[in-house]
């Protein structure tokens, strides 16, 4: 019988794979920007079809209609779980097992379905609310379950206008909302959603950061606090297709998925093509801090106070100042299933660029 060390070496050394066994035999860095990001965007966009949210306001309580009021609407501050819907094909009840939920703060709304979210801001109207600033976020999820396609489409319809099976996030919905006890009914685009209150909203504060770039002005790490001069401040941007980007000396991108306190980074990647080779302590610490907040699976807490965003992860904190809004862009979801996305993430998102999902 061989000794223990020999047996360990034998086991660890057995069954070595070779180049022919590799599934990713080439360096991903150059191909990532051409293949992986579009795929991720496509996935997120496709998921969003099923995952959409809607929100509307309830201007009534106990069945009594109210005029638009300056007071907080009855649905604000709570999360509401989908329980049933009515669309052109009829009604579906007993949807409690479907992972679909809509949450409201006093200004923002987010709908989640599996791991995807559709979110925006709202303002009260006579019978509900009108949405603006629609965005999508999330990681991935099952989108092909036929039973959910109808539900997902209905769910999205209370966030954006629809044209048949096409959803157009560039045309946010105007939603009628009614609260009766712990029940919420939302109506838009011929769709009625019935929801049940589940608890406090837990809406991610990062929704208010989306659509802007934010410049690092200070950081805190294990070495202490550090002010970052404007000319050295890297920028972090959150766009409405669910991509978070950091543009410092290194460039990083990832998807963000909303959490109650902030967000989680998914599928992130960092390019060192323009890496820093100097020893400036500010830059070195800033790069390290950015790497920490952009790392895959990093869970960030976020707070926003006016134009100041603070991101925290473990012992690292970044303070950022809000910059100019990103250029608006247009994206259209045309169904669920396979998907294609343009432009690639290397191409700035500008007016007229589109994100499309083909059935």
């Amino acid at each position: 019988m061989p000794d223990l060390e020999t047996r360990i070496r034998d086991a660890l050394g057995a069954d070595e794979i070779g180049w022919d066994d590799l599934r990713q035999p080439t360096l991903r860095a150059s191909s990532r920007s051409h293949r992986r990001w579009p795929a991720m965007l496509a996935t997120a966009a496709a998921v969003a079809v099923v995952a959409t949210v809607a929100a509307v306001i309830a201007t009534t309580r106990n069945g009594t209609s109210n005029a638009p009021a300056a007071t907080q609407p009855a649905y604000a501050g709570y999360a509401w779980k989908l329980s049933g819907l009515t669309d052109g094909q009829g009604s579906i009840a007993g949807l409690g097992s479907v992972p679909a939920q809509i949450a409201f703060s006093d200004t923002a709304v987010s709908g989640t379905f599996d791991n995807a979210s559709i979110f925006g801001h709202y303002s009260q109207t006579a019978d509900g609310y009108a949405l603006t600033d629609i965005g999508l976020a999330g990681t991935s999820g099952e989108i092909a379950r036929s039973g959910d396609l109808r539900v997902g489409h209905a769910f999205a319809s209370v966030f954006v206008h629809t044209n048949g099976r096409d959803l157009d996030p560039s045309r946010p919905a105007s939603v009628a909302a009614r609260v009766t006890g712990d029940r919420l009914v939302l109506q838009a685009n011929g769709i009625t959603l019935r929801l049940s209150r589940t608890g406090p909203s837990g809406l991610s504060p990062i929704i208010d950061a989306v659509g802007y770039t934010w410049r690092v002005t200070a950081l805190q790490d294990r070495q202490g606090e550090l002010s970052v001069p404007q000319r050295l401040g890297a920028q972090i941007g959150f766009d409405r297709t669910g991509v978070v980007s950091a543009n410092g000396l290194h460039r990083s991108q990832g998807r963000f998925a909303l959490t109650s306190g902030g967000y989680v980074v998914a599928d992130s990647a960092t390019s060192a093509a323009n890496g820093y080779v100097g020893h400036n302590p500010v830059i070195v610490r800033e790069i390290r801090a950015l790497d920490a907040v952009m790392e895959r699976n990093a869970m960030l807490s976020a707070t926003i106070n006016g134009k100041t965003l603070t991101l925290r992860r473990d012992g690292t904190a970044l303070t950022l100042h809000r910059g100019e809004p990103e250029p608006r862009y247009r994206f259209t979801i045309t169904g669920a299933g396979s998907a294609s996305v343009e432009p690639t993430p290397n191409t700035p998102i500008t007016e007229g660029n589109s994100v499309s999902v083909s059935p």
Binding site: A11, D15, Q24, L27, A269, A272, P281
Partner: protein
């Protein structure tokens, strides 16, 4: 604290990443497979390591190996893994079982499962010692711990493996 960027600071990589990839990728994937539980995750994390490789690293191979170990640890921290299934999972499907006596194969499976069940630090030490053939000092450098901690972890791991495999191997 203020600092200034000097104009002309070189921002181009000073290392040949494609050449490093060609030279080290396969061996790093093999190492990662000993630390995580499937080839796909191993390749993913090694690709991530190359993507994040700083341009000014002095010892790229050492840096890459350390980064793979760290990322493997992070990967395991973020997902639930039934490590015991690794040896019996798709890894076995790739084996040419007809060439291996069943007893020897069973012993390897048992050992791999036992290693996979070790606490992560002990698992790393065992893999670096008996797969990478690193000395205690080198392992300490990779894991950024003291040589004494390496020896301690290695002793505990060997005791645990001996207990699992059989008292006659201790």
């Amino acid at each position: 604290v203020t600092a200034h960027l000097q104009e002309g600071t070189p921002l181009v990589p000073t290392i040949d990443v494609p050449a490093l990839f060609e030279k080290h990728y396969l061996s790093l994937v093999r190492l990662a497979m000993r630390l995580v539980d499937d080839q796909e995750s191993a390749e993913d994390l090694v690709q991530d390591v190359f993507a994040a490789l700083p341009a000014d690293v002095e010892d790229p191979h050492r840096y890459l190996r350390t980064a793979v170990v760290n990322r493997a640890r992070s990967a395991l921290r973020h997902r639930r893994v039934v490590r015991a299934f690794w040896a019996r999972g798709h890894r076995l499907e790739q084996m040419d079982s007809a060439d291996l006596p069943s007893l020897r194969r069973a012993e390897r499976d048992q050992m791999l499962a036992a290693i996979a069940h070790l606490p992560q630090r002990q698992r790393e030490v065992v893999v670096l010692r008996y797969y990478e053939d690193l000395g205690v000092a080198e392992i300490a450098a990779v894991l950024n711990i003291s040589p004494g901690s390496v020896s301690s972890a290695l002793n505990r791991a060997m005791s645990a493996l001996a207990a699992v495999i059989g008292a006659d191997d201790a």
